[in-house]
Symmetry: D3
Subunit: 324 residues, 6 copies
Amino acid sequence: MSNTPPKQGPYRPPNSPTTPRYSGIRTFMRLPYVTDLEGIDLAIVGVPFDTGATYRVGARFGPSAIRDESFLLKPYNPALKVNIFDACSSVDYGDLPCMPGYLPEAHKLIQDSAAHVFASGATPIFLGGDHSVSLPLLRAAAAKFGPLALVHFDSHNDLHQGYFGGKDTHGTPFRRALEEGLIDATRSSQIGIRGSLYDANVEREAAEAGFRVFTAPEMHQHGLAWVLEEVRARTGNSLAYLTFDIDFADPAFAPGTGTPVIGGFSGAQCLELVRGLAGLNFVGYDLVEVLPAHDPAGTTSLLAAGIVYEFMSLAALQRSASKG
Amino acid sequence: MSNTPPKQGPYRPPNSPTTPRYSGIRTFMRLPYVTDLEGIDLAIVGVPFDTGATYRVGARFGPSAIRDESFLLKPYNPALKVNIFDACSSVDYGDLPCMPGYLPEAHKLIQDSAAHVFASGATPIFLGGDHSVSLPLLRAAAAKFGPLALVHFDSHNDLHQGYFGGKDTHGTPFRRALEEGLIDATRSSQIGIRGSLYDANVEREAAEAGFRVFTAPEMHQHGLAWVLEEVRARTGNSLAYLTFDIDFADPAFAPGTGTPVIGGFSGAQCLELVRGLAGLNFVGYDLVEVLPAHDPAGTTSLLAAGIVYEFMSLAALQRSASKG
Amino acid sequence: MSNTPPKQGPYRPPNSPTTPRYSGIRTFMRLPYVTDLEGIDLAIVGVPFDTGATYRVGARFGPSAIRDESFLLKPYNPALKVNIFDACSSVDYGDLPCMPGYLPEAHKLIQDSAAHVFASGATPIFLGGDHSVSLPLLRAAAAKFGPLALVHFDSHNDLHQGYFGGKDTHGTPFRRALEEGLIDATRSSQIGIRGSLYDANVEREAAEAGFRVFTAPEMHQHGLAWVLEEVRARTGNSLAYLTFDIDFADPAFAPGTGTPVIGGFSGAQCLELVRGLAGLNFVGYDLVEVLPAHDPAGTTSLLAAGIVYEFMSLAALQRSASKG
Amino acid sequence: MSNTPPKQGPYRPPNSPTTPRYSGIRTFMRLPYVTDLEGIDLAIVGVPFDTGATYRVGARFGPSAIRDESFLLKPYNPALKVNIFDACSSVDYGDLPCMPGYLPEAHKLIQDSAAHVFASGATPIFLGGDHSVSLPLLRAAAAKFGPLALVHFDSHNDLHQGYFGGKDTHGTPFRRALEEGLIDATRSSQIGIRGSLYDANVEREAAEAGFRVFTAPEMHQHGLAWVLEEVRARTGNSLAYLTFDIDFADPAFAPGTGTPVIGGFSGAQCLELVRGLAGLNFVGYDLVEVLPAHDPAGTTSLLAAGIVYEFMSLAALQRSASKG
Amino acid sequence: MSNTPPKQGPYRPPNSPTTPRYSGIRTFMRLPYVTDLEGIDLAIVGVPFDTGATYRVGARFGPSAIRDESFLLKPYNPALKVNIFDACSSVDYGDLPCMPGYLPEAHKLIQDSAAHVFASGATPIFLGGDHSVSLPLLRAAAAKFGPLALVHFDSHNDLHQGYFGGKDTHGTPFRRALEEGLIDATRSSQIGIRGSLYDANVEREAAEAGFRVFTAPEMHQHGLAWVLEEVRARTGNSLAYLTFDIDFADPAFAPGTGTPVIGGFSGAQCLELVRGLAGLNFVGYDLVEVLPAHDPAGTTSLLAAGIVYEFMSLAALQRSASKG
Amino acid sequence: MSNTPPKQGPYRPPNSPTTPRYSGIRTFMRLPYVTDLEGIDLAIVGVPFDTGATYRVGARFGPSAIRDESFLLKPYNPALKVNIFDACSSVDYGDLPCMPGYLPEAHKLIQDSAAHVFASGATPIFLGGDHSVSLPLLRAAAAKFGPLALVHFDSHNDLHQGYFGGKDTHGTPFRRALEEGLIDATRSSQIGIRGSLYDANVEREAAEAGFRVFTAPEMHQHGLAWVLEEVRARTGNSLAYLTFDIDFADPAFAPGTGTPVIGGFSGAQCLELVRGLAGLNFVGYDLVEVLPAHDPAGTTSLLAAGIVYEFMSLAALQRSASKG
């Protein structure tokens, strides 16, 4: 039967000119759903958890929405001149287990199951979920790779100490990551930061922590080539982790997110920036804060899927380079 | 100035024929926002908490959405022949403090602040929030009044032992309430129950707990007059608490809820049932599980506001009767 | 790993109290995605084809939308007192291949692949797709089982000769089925017919063809028990096929369809009617004409998923009876 | 060319089986757009005015939205056994001129242009606009026909004295009509009244004015056959005018309206009631208060178009009877 | 109780890290609702009036929608390096009284109540409402301050003589303001003008009136720094009034408006322009033409709230400078 | 009567300051609906066909949606300094006949009726429909004018050989046009191409076919002035055809389309590019792939209507130049 999934790798999506793109079981790009990662290069992994959200909520439905908007993506990326699936046996791993409503317990589950993914040798691309999930993901990554350079796209620093008496929310992951030594601030960048703050101390604290912060107004003024040059220089050859909060994009491009901030970036600018990171040594990626219930035209998920596709392309270039 | 709020009670909404209903600060029915409940008969109280939700989430925005759809409501209820504000000095108390993401801590906050409301002598009508909030609200109520007869409108029994290893979710409040002796099952009714179950034990457990369960199919078959007669007889003169999960209504009437179940009830049926409870001795009411992000036409909030209005009318009749 | 799909049957959905219902790969009720039907009792099969639609279009996205709204369904149906998965090893088979834009070729593909499903011995429940797909499905069914009694829920007779010079659209399948001897009109019923017609001949032709037609106005007047009695008597012990156009339901309950007609039926009435067919000998079922792009609150897909669940329950009762 | 409109009457819609229903210029049912009413039996007339609205606003877009949802309607009404266009040369007259923002001036324009329509001898069906337009329409009708029996479907009595210091709004037309002797209250009925009121006087005033008022709760209790019998007896052979505020229907069936009230009626009930008026002597009809911007699935306009279709059927039966 | 509003100034929003931002009564930024403006520096004032709209309508719901999207805003503006509430005791004054449907009467009410606000010494930021409200607001402002320099962001000149025989609409306020000497055209700028016109005279008339008009195409070509330099030079030290029609922004950024025009500006460009006006002597501000019913993702209101926040920041800088 | 349509040309829209723009029968810009094209300069022609769509579908409703968003357009284009209707007698021709579901037959109907339009001497602007309609339109155009220079705005090359075994879809029209000699690739340009591809061959094939391809990344890098210079030089004085797939625009600006691709262009950029083609010799234009069911705020149709308006302006400049 024509709709039989492949029994073994290397894995790639089905051939679209013979089966319509809107048909079939809804994995990312219609990749095979495979949970044994042996021999896999690239794994799409959902993390449907949003108990860390402090305002709008619903990112638990982010992974499925991003998958739903991924079906128009095809194997060859002409901007980066790479065929992802020629370079990488790729699968959709499904979602990590993460129980809602109990943040510490869920973070532990996420960390343990992410550690399992990292252990396989596959490069994971995680689909959030609220931004609090980056903390257990970084714990798993750093346990294997040591402190990582962080390349962080966001409108918020996410360096708060806590909220409402709770220690962990989607506004705190990188404060915790610094405290735990999971990331090396001196090699890390925060890109796209903007919007109002509680007070002037917030800005100072990010700088004091050692991050290089690129604010949106200065990016709009100086251009993206400058940003890319600085970020690349700062990251260098370090092992790195890329985290992308979809609220980096302007609300016109990504309305479906929990804490949108005006004055952001276009889809074309997102693409230019991510593509401009080709050659860095990323051990993992995440894309977080997509809230489908606030995304009436699906454009947020479409943008998110397209950014994930660029992550896949970066990973394919890395695998090609290391194999080549 | 014409838009000056009243400085003291008895409180009622502003006069609509002279100020448009869509103008002004958005309290329930544009009631004065008052937090000193001395001398108040009736208080609308938001409980914007949804960390107990196991599927769709966003009921933290329920209270404000219900307020937004309350402005067309006027003082006199012709179906029950009562002018609410002639009988009751009424206010909007605002929202209880309830931090997201940490269920046990938030439940404690809710319980304590609800106790404060009950202590004032005002009759509270709580706007959820997910159904888990009924547990701390019942704790506060029972602490003052002792075990209560529960009149519970819902498509679900909400008697689960727990989920995902957590003890408290929006599917468990009445199991906990039973265990803690907050409600008297022998005087309590569950009305509108329907939909698929994990197994046949769920039905048996509700019965064993002592509840009278009215399933939707039997209600559709036997009619609402029969239900009302049975519920009234069972509740009798007991002090009672009315909890109304908006998913009691059919998804055509209340799409904006977290766990909708088909085969439910119309708005007219909701009204007939609530009005039919006039004369029972309710010490408090709640209306839960409104999720505005899934309510594109606002009809769920409109229905919820209308049901809250009937609760106010019941309370006004009670106050009139006790004063009369 | 906890998210590993089962390797062999009997198949049933994962345990929801331990993995959240919104997580995982999106098959119907999160059933295993299995394409080898040997030993399978019940198969959910998508037919994402809508080139037969003459007005609004988009039912090609119906199968995935119905799957998306199926996750709240649980194994035990209290209305019919059956645990589906105790009786039936059940899977999601994915979608049949069906190329858009070329109706005759696509119908041939659908017929051939449906024949493969019927050949396995599993009872299929097909998710459309526009109503034109019932024609190739009936061709496949009748090839195995001979002429079938049709139980047809719809607001339209779908007995037109053709449109715009084309022979096959979603308004013609049962005209073709009659001509080809796939169905036995004398044992067949059309239920819920209503709305304006080209002329008075349309009504006469349905009667002349031998169908028993139940119009919506007479159903509203005489009640559903009467309809059920008549339909059951007429179908008798014949092998039968159940086709359900979601526009049978009123637009308030099912706005997301291609040719909605006012004056229809509630969700509760849909459930009562389908449940009332328990015991008939259905060899297959379809549910068609769900258009997600016109379903802003998802209620149409939710209703469709719930009706499919009742089909599963009927099939489980049949399997239990035949095994018992 | 196949898309050439007809040059002269009798007028009817184009043949749908040869041109798709979604194509062509968007008149009601794709009727010819004709502004010379000589020899015309039935005219659809838009009245896109909403300056009388006191809450939600936007009924100026009602006529075009109702036209947009009329294309699935076909010539033969099986419930009333009449082919509209065999009986009536029918056209879409377009919209009356009505400048926004200046109510008295616009009402004068509406009255004058409506008088022109009535003078032609065609039976008009007006598409509002807010309910204030019924006042100038009744002025035009009564100028020709004398005081009329009113058959008024609505959730509100619309008998207020005024609002905000203004005399005319959508809540006042029938108070003005009574004062001006345009309607004969003793032969008039208000059907479907419900919802909260400013005080108990509102109910008394409607009764004192001489109207027969059918409230929604008593209609739900006693049934529609009773209502129809009473209304028909009361109207008798009088010349009558039918005004239908779409908020008569429940918000689940008609969310897109300015002042929705819960506890209303289904689409099937709307149809039963309007059809049940066959034989009364209506000189004109209006359907008001459709607000497309609050109608995300188009169901309100769909219902409105279907009710207008029943008005057309009533008019066709009248014309047939008078010709026969 | 923690949710008790403050009893006296200086006023600022509640502390968000201890009470969730989505909770509480919905004033702008959750500022105290205070109607005694003595000692207040900054007042947010709603003007929910839209009878002047000539096309889409519904800006009467603009003030509440803008408030609803203001809750993520925090006290410190890093782009302008100012903490608003350290500089300004700030309140939400609620809405001005403005009866719908009677434009001249409503304009008089708005003017009188705005005069009361200006008299207090607080700097007002008005939330429209359609653009016709700028006329009574300017009347009130000029009565106190004399002719003002206008800084006008819009896609339309709003200099029409009238429409449909009426003198005042949302397309005419600045024609009236010129005629009445409320503004000094020689110090005024119109920024962002674009879109089709009735004829070439419209452009000439704006120039003849003395305005400096910056069209969108020339702004896209020459850049915003040039515009800011010109506007600042032209305004100089004059007392000025800033009026911002949200349709200045492109429809992708602000779909929820009455007369959208393509080819406009991004949110980041709106921010750059408003921030670039720091140091000018504004006596008042308005933000108009937000129509929530056409804003499915809330992005228009979010942008509007963010622009209002920049107005607050400008006012805070002014107060700081004048106090400093 | 004031709403009488004009009886003969030259045709232009009604005067908006005297009749509200939202009123009347919904043709493009409310132009007269005229099907006799003798003496007409400019004709808007709908082509409501979408059977060629391979993913999202519904462009059959594109023509009416674009008309619905055209009413704010006025006669004078200040950017191009032309009054369209002074130069061109303009009409809305309605829609071409095109039966759904049978692509080859429909393409033949479209070609034949388009030939009729071209034969009249009017310049047509076609409103799609999916992009497959450009093939029969080009067949009709080339039959009259010979091979044409193509100016093609799109995110896709649309040069595929076929899909799913079918030869014609919306991804293939220009492959067929090349094979049939309808276009001269050496004078043709493809502008805005971007997004993932099946493989690297796709890029090579477009180049080998002779097209000049401008990819989005290089356009973002080098600017639009460069693109315009190259396209104008390449097209030269050739007779040309302009085809504009709305997915050229970024999904933030045009979400309502069938196969959106991120990284596209703003509305302002669309306008700059189309205006920059003034002076080329276009014999016809089309604007395709608007899907209203995926366009919740109507912004896609608004952008499309605005681009069509620029086409009209180009045609008016051409007519003026040729008459002058």
